[in-house]
Symmetry: C2
């Protein structure tokens, strides 16, 4: 495959001429060919108009047709995995095994969401049959379900060149739900993005889908992304990235003449509460486990454990000492981009200056784009009194918060902002008594982890990857990982007194798709 | 019961001293006793703090406990129906039978949502059991469900003194979902609101629920409502009313440091498309049916048919002539408030001045707060070229749009903004060929009605009362009527590797509540 450095506008390749940029190899410290060209305003307009024109056809595609397309994209990713991974390694500095594994995860997601599209139970099909003789008024026949919302714009992430980028979770779930997709490529890995985009465009063609099914736009700046979010034909937005970026897009979307939903997953501090019993039972194992979780991908995960809450005790101090020693000995690694590296340096330097905050581990980092763990500690009182200490530092930096006792731990929990995850490490006996802490954390996070670590997000029916603001932009009502991700791209439609011939198959009398439907108040797969 | 004119702050009665206002009898044209006193800022703060303090207890109430409370409120409404209805008649000018019927609908809603709380299937409980031997990594146990979002603020409507006010659909669904509620009473019927509020407060006490479960605030202006939406402890908002009011609250909520969802149902023009075959088959019946729908409650329904789209033909002209004659002969009735009456007069007067728009029916209205139908007609070309003609005039005014042919009818459909409903009247033969029009309308409205009329909103599992903006503020993702209304007040929480003792009952191994759960990809009511 050939990387052209040009946007994909439906079935056409964009024209050169826009502002230029290049990918950057953070490990080698050099720019990568080719030069990428920003999409023009006319190309953006064309991409959106094509998507708008394709939306009705997409809304009528069966789940089986969507699945066929998603599986074809998945197969193409797997077939080209070596080439895709090699380019991503160069553009991100991530290890080859990580990139290869992420491609497998991405094709797995596409297939899982395709399967969900076929099964269709998530469409919440409901039927209330007519009661023509009801008094005082007859009851009409009502049938309702979730229908695709229309063109979706996806902003890929910096830290997942595949799983949360061009063919990533947002794109896959939007396609599975029946929506055309326009991706704004992340400039950190445009080459991998373009290769994936070409594969999607091939699959669109091979499945005979409308060309507006998919477009991929490059932009050296922020203008294209903002224009997409403000375009009247765009109906929803998916985003994975920073709080500042996600909030900006959410604000633009809320201020439109017709506001639209923005599903922004914006990272979080992922607090870990470690109780005395856990320290007594498995201090050494937790040193290894927490160190591994906190340094995975050099901390560049939205589920990176950024806050460690402990009660002060000799055992806790010994645990932190051992963990700090291990962190200090952690070899540096290249960060994803020079910009992320710079923000990490700025963020850790600023935290070093905070009154009441002390550095407890600082590993050596000498490469231009390199980074290594820098950890801090503070008292609960300092943490509670210093708003800035709740902010995430993206990268391998965490803050240890020392509490006097369980009551102060609970106070820290109550003080937390929304988070993607919250973790509790407890001993066998004390765990059962933590109902109060669990309830507080359940109001703060999308996923609670017991005796584990926050990194590692399973792609399954039960996963929740979202949470109260600022972890996500929609109040924790949705997830960007797992099959519930499809529910972000739909809206409700009810049909009153419609005959089978004018109803979607999902609502027809015989239940031709075999969906689980709520019929007159009872769930059934039989017809009416 | 005694109307004190004072807010209810948890279990306490508010203090006098705020800005004063009185209810107004629009039929008699006089103010009603007693004087109502606006809640103070301190009382508002207290109401929100009490709700915040009550939220954890509410989140732990079982569905059965919520149901018991909702049924008690319903029983109390029924017991006091005569007194409630009498006050509402005086405050709104609505007929006694309408008010009595609406109380029955309100208690029915409370019971239906209570039943949904007990059944709990809507909580979307999902379980993925662990696979400890999976390679390369073990699969953890994940269990997730919808949990209550926290304190909810409800703004009652002007036009439903019971069903969409203090104990109305938003309040009932929020309680059923497990959230404390603070109602900002609508000043159009504060006496009925206070009576209902007292009954809810009684039920809170009798069920032994925390006093923060419910508060009711009066305000002569808009300050209290805005302060509630901006309060950091408030987690979601329900609103039924005007586009201007709903948008204002949605904008305030989106601009908060922590944005929160606003579910605003803001009315719409509810287009009715009448095809030639329908006119040929049942013109006279449609004159009666459409007249009844358009003048029900003197047009003061959010589902009032405000746009009638026809192809010009002798039969269509005869239909409109007959309808216009019936509309012109419609006796006037008091509108809900002098303000609504004034807006109606202003809106119809302005439309009369629109170039290309002609009055086709104007019934006589002489009472100070009286109104009667005023209907208009315009060509499709005029409609498509005049943005103001898409705006709803709240009351018994509609616009007939004349199309050359089916193609122009489709163009009008494509041009529509979001609406709560869209209606299609078609003949027996032509109906089957309307798939294209139905698809366009399905992208524009929350409920499609075939060969019926938009008024009459069934409270059931399958109902959808919402729609794309500007019908509602959330892109048509939710409904404010029917059991899906509960889904507005929840967020997702996932538990990883939790033992039964720390899990909510909904997710425990034995499935003690007998919920329908998605276990390892299959729906079942059996345990794991």
């Amino acid at each position: 495959m050939n990387i052209r450095g040009l946007s994909l506008i439906g079935s056409k390749v964009g024209a050169p001429g826009g502002a230029k940029f290049q990918a950057f190899d953070p490990a080698a410290g050099k720019s990568l060919d080719p030069v990428f060209q920003s999409a023009s305003a006319a190309e953006l307009e064309q991409a959106v108009r094509l998507a708008d024109a394709a939306a009705p056809a997409w809304a009528k595609l069966s789940g089986a047709e969507r699945n066929r397309f998603l599986r074809l994209v998945a197969d193409k990713l797997d077939q080209h995995a070596a080439e895709l991974a090699a380019r991503a390694v160069a553009e991100t500095g991530l290890a080859l095994a990580r990139c290869t594994g992420e491609i497998a995860r991405t094709s797995g997601q596409l297939r899982l969401y395709g399967e969900a599209a076929v099964r269709g139970d998530w469409l919440d099909a409901r039927i209330e049959t007519a009661l023509p003789d009801r008094k005082p008024l007859p009851k009409p026949d009502h049938r309702s379900l979730l229908r695709p919302i229309g063109p979706v714009v996806v902003f890929g992430s910096s830290n997942f060149p595949f799983a949360y980028s061009v063919a990533g979770g947002d794109t896959a779930s939007a396609f599975a739900a029946g929506c055309p997709v326009i991706v704004k490529a992340h400039p950190a890995h445009p080459g991998a993005g373009e290769l994936v985009g070409q594969l999607i465009a091939e699959a669109v063609r091979e499945c005979g889908l409308p060309e507006g099914s998919f477009s991929l736009l490059f932009d050296a700046g922020f203008g294209a992304g903002q224009a997409l979010v403000q375009h009247p034909m765009v109906k929803a937005v998916g985003f994975t990235g920073s709080l500042a970026g996600g909030r900006k897009l959410a604000d633009l979307a809320a201020a439109r003449p017709e506001p639209i939903p923005v599903y922004a997953e914006m990272g979080s501090i992922n607090p870990v509460f470690i109780l005395p019993g856990a320290l007594a039972e498995r201090s050494a194992a937790m040193v290894d486990g927490l160190h591994a979780s906190a340094t995975l991908g050099m901390g560049q995960f939205c589920t990176n454990p950024g806050l460690i809450v402990l009660q002060r005790s000799p055992a806790a101090e010994e645990f932190v000492r051992a963990l700090a020693a291990k962190l200090t000995a952690t070899p540096e690694a290249a960060m994803l981009t020079p910009g992320i590296r710079k923000n990490y340096a700025t963020g850790t330097a600023a935290r070093t200056q905070q009154p009441g905050v002390k550095v407890i581990a600082e590993a050596k980092s000498t490469a231009a784009c390199g980074a290594a763990p820098v950890w801090f500690e503070a008292s609960a009182a300092t943490f509670l009194g210093t708003p800035g200490l709740s902010a995430e530092i993206f990268g391998p930096s965490s803050l240890v918060v020392w509490c006097r006792d369980g009551a102060e731990m609970l106070e820290v929990a109550r003080h937390l902002e929304g988070s993607l995850t919250a973790t509790l490490q407890a001993g066998a006996v004390e765990a059962a008594a933590q109902g109060g802490l669990v309830d507080v954390l359940a109001a703060k996070a999308g996923r609670l982890v017991l005796n584990g670590y926050p990194t590692g997000v399973e792609v399954s029916h039960a996963m929740v990857h979202g949470g109260p603001y600022p972890a996500a932009s929609d109040g924790g009502r949705s997830t960007s990982v797992g099959t519930r991700a499809l529910n972000r791209w739909v809206r409700l439609v009810c049909y009153q007194n419609f005959p089978d011939t004018l109803l979607p198959a999902e609502l027809q009398n015989t239940n031709p798709l075999g969906l689980l439907r709520l019929v007159n108040g009872d769930f059934t797969r039989t017809g009416v």
